[in-house]
């Protein structure tokens, strides 16, 4: 029998080595676990244990077929439906690693539950004999022992030491769960180091950069880190440097730190093209400017979509088209919308007291004012805002990082709201504020967040992690308990003063423009791998190469 899997291959090699080193070795290859997960022509398939055991008398097959979604799942269980013997997953192999771990063992629930709900990786309570990694034949017990014995503290360390998860990787979520459970049980605090290159959290790095006046990544890593950085610490430091005002994000060494979105000042989409979002402050736009956006989209053949933030997103631009597109937009008075940055996106507004019968304040005017004040401000994560002109809250301000709702007497300020994966309503921070008070509080809130939050931590999670929460934030921002308000105010004043449109600056710089090409040796040639088809009268990407054409196995 010829195996196509790495697990049996490793086992056979071990047997051979044993015989080579030890003449009277009794080691023998006695078959192997053939569980595997593959992606065939873009379809996930997996099989584990003995998927055909249901032919036997004392086994039962439980199957689920969904021809609409292209999903087939089968579990083979013992005749008392307690023990998992094997199974097959086609079209949806999410639950593979969990199910495989239960093969030969007792199922925690009824088989149908495992078919539908069993996607959550099993916890640290799996029996010790359970094989977690079938490629390298590593049991839960072995992983637990090695974590304790060798003081392993993260997944790469566990992989390196036990080899679990180091071949096909499908058991890594399970390995992580076991590790987390072991660390929690041992009362070990998980390191807050941002990555292998710095032993500091983002907030600590921010203070190091600020206090020591560091302006280059090379100096920071030479004096306070190791190696050459990575895709985690580099963008984090790029953001810190930008928050502290170090000029254009693509100038000098900063160019090497930016993630691709910041590198091309546009948002990369799934086929390697980019989308473009011009700033439309407060969502207010003249007919003439609307026409310009329409003409640009038409002339470059871009897909257009209205965003949730009251702007217009133009999709399908190749790198070499970005400067041409932006030349047209800048000439018409547009500027970067920073949709690509971890920075202020948009301040949404309702139409407000100017037009609305119910409005009590000029919400559009305030939204534009705020958007222009905070545009370009780099932060640990994206920032969204909205201003509603009355308590009816048409702008949905309570779902924003900072939301403002007009009152008869002024403005109510709500902080740390969030839409997204885990929605959170913003907390009412202060009521009936004047324009000046409102802006002062938002200035300090944003700067305090930028200084102290973790990498990629939204204001909602940051607020929840603040000891003392909202009351503490009031003490810092309103009562100046930490004595840092003057500093925060000055930092924001500096941001407002030094703001400059990144796209306008880029267009004026031939050195920067040279980077906007698909091919360094053929600047005029468009990337031939990019192609589109038409759907609802607009373009949509076609992926011509790649994973869907390859058979990916372990």
């Amino acid at each position: 029998m010829v195996y196509g899997l790495v697990g049996p291959c490793f086992t056979m090699a071990e047997v051979v080595v044993d015989h080579l080193l030890n003449g009277d070795s009794s080691a023998a290859f006695e078959g192997a676990d053939l569980s595997t997960k593959l992606k065939l022509m873009g379809v996930d398939v997996a099989s584990f244990g003995d998927p055909f055991a249901d032919g036997a008398d004392n086994a039962l097959g439980v199957t689920y077929t969904d021809p609409v979604a292209g999903v087939y799942k089968k579990l083979v269980v013992s005749d008392d439906a307690r023990t998992l013997l094997g199974g097959v997953l086609v079209g949806d192999a999410e639950s593979y690693s969990t199910l495989r771990a239960y093969v030969g063992g007792q199922l925690p629930g009824a088989p149908e539950q495992m078919l539908f709900g069993g996607t959550e990786a099993a916890g640290g309570d799996l029996p010790g004999a359970t094989v977690i990694c079938s490629c390298n034949n590593v049991t839960a017990e072995k992983i637990r022992c090695d974590i304790a014995e060798h003081e392993l503290r993260d997944v790469p360390a566990v992989k390196g030491c036990t080899r679990a998860g180091s071949s096909c990787g499908s058991c890594v979520p399970l390995v992580k769960k076991i590790l987390d459970a072991e660390l929690a049980a041992a009362g070990i605090e998980v390191s807050k180091a941002i990555c292998e290159h710095f032993e500091y959290s983002r907030a600590e790095l921010f203070d190091i950069v600020r206090v020591r006046g560091i302006t280059a990544f090379s100096r920071l890593i030479a004096e306070h880190g190791t190696g050459r950085g990575c895709d985690i610490c580099k963008p984090a430091v790029a953001s810190i440097l930008a928050s502290l005002g170090n000029g254009h994000v693509l100038k000098g060494e900063q160019a090497a730190l930016q993630d691709t979105n910041d590198q091309f000042l546009a948002n990369m989409q799934k086929n390697g093209t980019y989308s473009v979002v011009p700033r439309i402050p407060g969502g207010e736009i003249t007919p003439d400017k609307l026409i310009v956006i329409g003409e640009v989209a038409r002339d470059f053949g871009l897909y257009t979509k209205i965003t949730g933030g009251q702007r217009i997103d133009l999709f399908g631009a190749r790198v070499e088209q970005l400067p041409q597109i932006w030349k047209r937009l800048v000439d018409a008075g547009f500027e970067s919308g920073h949709a690509y940055g971890k920075s202020l996106r948009t301040v949404k507004s309702c139409v407000g007291s100017t037009w609305c019968r119910y409005g009590v304040q000029d919400s559009v005017g305030m939204a534009i004012n705020l958007e222009l004040r905070y545009r370009g401000l780099r932060a640990p994560h994206k920032l969204k805002s909205a201003v509603s002109g009355c308590a009816r809250e048409c702008a949905e301000a309570q779902s924003k990082d900072f939301g403002i709702i007009a009152t008869e007497k002024g403005w109510n300020l709500y902080l740390s709201g969030n839409g997204g994966m885990r929605p959170r309503h913003a907390d009412l921070f202060a009521t009936d504020l004047t324009d000046e008070q409102l802006i002062t509080y938002i200035d300090r809130f944003l700067m305090f967040y930028i200084r102290t939050a973790d990498r990629l931590q939204r204001t909602s999670v940051w607020m929840e992690s603040l000891e003392g929460g909202l009351d503490y934030l009031r003490e810092v921002i309103v009562d100046d308990r930490l004595g840092i308000c003057a500093e925060l105010d000055a930092a924001m004043a500096r941001h407002v003063e030094t703001y400059s449109d990144e796209w306008n600056d880029t267009l004026k710089d031939p050195e920067l423009l040279r980077r906007f090409v698909s091919f360094v040796n053929a600047p005029e040639t468009p990337d031939p791998s990019i192609s589109f088809e038409v759907e609802r009268e607009q373009i949509k990407p076609v992926l011509v190469a790649g994973s869907s054409l390859e058979v990916i196995s372990k």
């Binding site: 190696g227 050459r228 990575c230 895709d231 090497a256 390697g272 091919f519 360094v520 040639t525 390859e550």
Partner: protein, 112 residues
């Protein structure tokens, strides 16, 4: 009839066309080659095709090191590749082809 193919060095760009600690893509025949210049000035060449997304984007990834090994992270879903071998360090089942690359005077040349 017998056809023989002789691999030859192909001129791609000048060394200074490459930014320190970044990559760029070169079109060699109909092959997309991602060329990288590390902070130290070393040159590496990989296929530009990201095997995870199927998009030709690896040249636009962030360079760095993992345990001392020079790496590039795909800009699409952030898997990290060893620049010296093309192996994906986050998923040993995946790798990308590597190509020979050299500096000839101030010109960068690759062999595919």
């Amino acid at each position: 009839m017998t056809m023989t193919f002789v691999a030859t060095w192909v001129d791609v760009c000048s060394y200074t066309d490459l930014l320190p600690d970044r990559g760029a893509c070169a079109l060699v025949g109909d092959r997309q080659v991602a060329v990288f210049r590390t902070y130290e000035g070393e040159l590496y060449a990989l296929s530009n095709l990201d095997p995870f997304s199927g998009a030709y984007v690896l040249s636009r990834g962030i360079l760095g090191t993992r345990n001392g090994v020079p790496t590039v992270a795909s800009p699409m879903y952030k898997q990290v590749f060893d620049l010296t071998t093309g192996l994906c360090l986050d998923d040993p089942a995946k790798s990308v082809p590597t190509f020979s690359i050299r500096l000839n005077g101030d010109r960068v040349e690759v062999m595919t």
